[in-house]
Point group: C2
Chain length 138, copies 2
DNA sequence: CAAGTAACTTCCTAAAAGTAAGTAGATGCC
DNA sequence: GGCATCTACTTACTTTTAGGAAGTTACTTG
C-alpha cells in the first residue's frame, strides 16, 4: 500500500504520545511561527487553562522540544521557543496542515452513502453495538 | 523561518484535536498497515483498554476516518480499515516517523549544557518556578 | 504605597482513561 | 444438551488528567 512506514517502534510511540497529549500539537504549531510568551500562548491557543499550559510547557521543555528563555529587560518577560528538535516537527505539521485543508471537517468523503448531516449515531449507538452478530445462522 | 504553514485555522485545529486524543495516532498508524480486527488492535497497540479502544474507534468512524466491516463468514469477524480520508494521513505519519527516527528519545539535543542524565528537575521544579524574576533590579 | 501586570501555582471540581467483570451470539468438546 | 471458549463490545467503578478560579511573586506605574 505504502511501504516506508513500517517501524511501529518505540521511537514512534514516543512521538505519538507526545502529539497524543492534548494541546501539544497546537502549542508546537504556534511556536513554529516563532517564540511566544506565556500569556500570548494562552491567548493564541484559546481554551486552554493556564494550569495545563504550564504543565505542557514543562513537559515539552523536559523532552527537549522547547526552551524557556527569560529576558530580564526591565519589563522582564519569559518566552518559549522551539529547540532544533522542536523545529524538526515542521514537516509533520506541514503535512498535517495539508491533510486538514483537504479533509478536515468537510464532508466525510467524496462518496458518502450515509447522510453527512448528523455526525453522531453512526449506527444507533446504543442498540446495534453490543449485539452486532444478528445472524440467526439460517 | 518556514512560511507555508501559517493557517492556524479551524481545520487545522480539528486535525490537531484528532491526533491530540490519546491513542488515535497509534490506531491510525496500525491501520495504515492494513485492516485490523478489534482484538488484534488491542494486542498490537498494547496498553490500551478495550473500553477506550471501542470509544476511539467509534469516534474515528464518526469522523469518517475509519470504517467498520462485519464479515459474517461463520467465524464472524469485524474489521476496521481506513477510509480515503484516513489513508490521507499517510504522509503525516511518514513525517512523524522520520522525526521519531532522528529525534525521539535519543539525547535531547546536539548541544546540551545541562547534563542529559535526569530528565525532570529542569530547573528545581519546586523552588525557582513560582518566583523566576530573581533580579534585584540593581 | 495601592493597583496593575506577567507568569505561574494551588485548590477544588469535572471529564477522560484505566481496570475488571459482564453480555451476546456462535462454535467446539464430551 | 450443556459447558467452556472465542470475539467484540459494554457497564460499573476507580484513578488520572483537565478545567476554572483565585492566590502568589516580582516588579512597574500612578
Amino acid at each position: 500500500m505504502h511501504d516506508d512506514l513500517r517501524p511501529l517502534c518505540e521511537r514512534f510511540l514516543t512521538a505519538a504520545e507526545l502529539l497524543g497529549r492534548r494541546w501539544t500539537g497546537i502549542i508546537l504549531r504556534i511556536l513554529l511561527d516563532g517564540p511566544c510568551r506565556f500569556g500570548e500562548l494562552t491567548e493564541r491557543i484559546g481554551g486552554i487553562s493556564e494550569r495545563v499550559l504550564s504543565e505542557r510547557l514543562k513537559e515539552l521543555e523536559a523532552e527537549g522540544v522547547i526552551e524557556r528563555h527569560v529576558d530580564p529587560g526591565p519589563p522582564i518577560r519569559s518566552e518559549y521557543r522551539l529547540t532544533e528538535k522542536g523545529q524538526a516537527f515542521w514537516k509533520v505539521f506541514h503535512e498535517l496542515g495539508q491533510w486538514a485543508e483537504q479533509w478536515a471537517d468537510v464532508k466525510p468523503a467524496p462518496k458518502p452513502d450515509v447522510k453527512p448531516a448528523a455526525k453522531p449515531a453512526s449506527r444507533d449507538a446504543k442498540s446495534a453495538r453490543a449485539a452486532p452478530r444478528k445472524r440467526k445462522t439460517a
